[in-house]
Symmetry: C2
Amino acid sequence: MPAKRPSPTVLREATRQARSFERVRQAHQREVAEDYVELIADLIDVTGEARAVDLAERLGVTNATVNAALNRLARDGLVTRQRYRSIFLTTEGRRLAEESRARHRIVRDALIKLGVDSETAEIDAEGIEHHISARTLAALREFLEGAGTP
Amino acid sequence: MPAKRPSPTVLREATRQARSFERVRQAHQREVAEDYVELIADLIDVTGEARAVDLAERLGVTNATVNAALNRLARDGLVTRQRYRSIFLTTEGRRLAEESRARHRIVRDALIKLGVDSETAEIDAEGIEHHISARTLAALREFLEGAGTP
DNA sequence: TATAAATTTTAGCTTGCACTAAATTTTGTC
DNA sequence: GACAAAATTTAGTGCAAGCTAAAATTTATA
Ligand SMILES: [Mn+2]
Ligand SMILES: [Mn+2]
Ligand SMILES: [Mn+2]
Ligand SMILES: [Mn+2]
C-alpha cells in the first residue's frame, strides 16, 4: 500500500482531533469524583449523613469498591473521613458537588425540553453531564430560558 | 447517628439511580471500541487504509497503546489484522462504525443548532456521543429537522 | 449487657488503558 | 541490493475501578 505523506491540512486536523480525545480522557478522570461528591451531598441533604453502604446501593457497586474510591477522594482533598464513620465533604468537595449538581440538572432539563421522557433524560444525563464544556452549558441554559413547549 | 430505615420510596429511587450508573459503566466499556472503529472507517475512506500510526496520532496516544487496543478489538470481532499490515473492519465493526458515525454527527449538529461554536461542538460531541440512548437520539433528530436559525 | 446484625475495612485478584524502551519487520532511498 | 527510516510489536510498569471473601468495628436487639 502507498504510504502517502499527509498534507499540512490533514496534519492539523489530526492534532485537533487528538485534542478532543484528550479532553474526553480528562473528563473520564474527573467523572467518578463528580458522581461521588454529588451523591454524598444529596445523601447529606436528604438523610443527614452519607454512609458508604448507601453510596454503594445507589451506585450499584460493592462496599469494597466504594471504600477504595473514597480513599482516592480523600487523597485528592474532596472528602474527609474517620475510620468507621460517615463521610464529609471538604470545601472543595462541596464546591464540586454544587457545580456537578447544577450541570446535571441543566442537562436533564434540556433533554426533557427536547422531548425526551424524564426517565430516559435522567439516565442519559448521568453520562452526558461530564462532557459538557462551559460553552455548551451556557447554550443549554439559554435554550432552557427560551419559550417552553406550547 | 440515627440509622433510619429507608422508606420503600427511597429504596426504589436508589435502585433506579443504580441502573443509571450501570448504564454509564456499560457505555464506557463500549466507548473505546466505538471511537476506534469510527476512526478506522474514516481513515479507510479518506486515505485508503487504516494504519496504527495514524490512529495513534489522531487519538493522541502511543503506538503501543493502539496496538493493545487493536488486540482487544480483534478479540471482540470488530477488526481483523495480519501482522505488520494495516487494519480492516469486520462486518460487525463496519456496522458499529456507521452507527457511531451517524450518532456523532447528530450530536455535533444538534449542539451547533443550540448555538455552540463548531469547534466546541466537535470536542464535546466526542464524549457525549457514547451516552445517547435511542430515545434521546430520536429527539435530537427531530430537533434538527425543525426550522433552522433565522 | 451479651449477642446478633450491619457496616466498614483489608487483602488479593482481574481487566482496561495509559506509558517507555527495545526488538522486529516493512518500506523507502541511494 | 544494501542501508536507513518508519512502522509494528513485545516486554514490563502503573493506576483506576471493578470483584469476592474475610476480618474488624460499630450499632441494634434480646
Ligand atoms: Mn454522572
Ligand atoms: Mn450526576
Ligand atoms: Mn467519542
Ligand atoms: Mn466519535
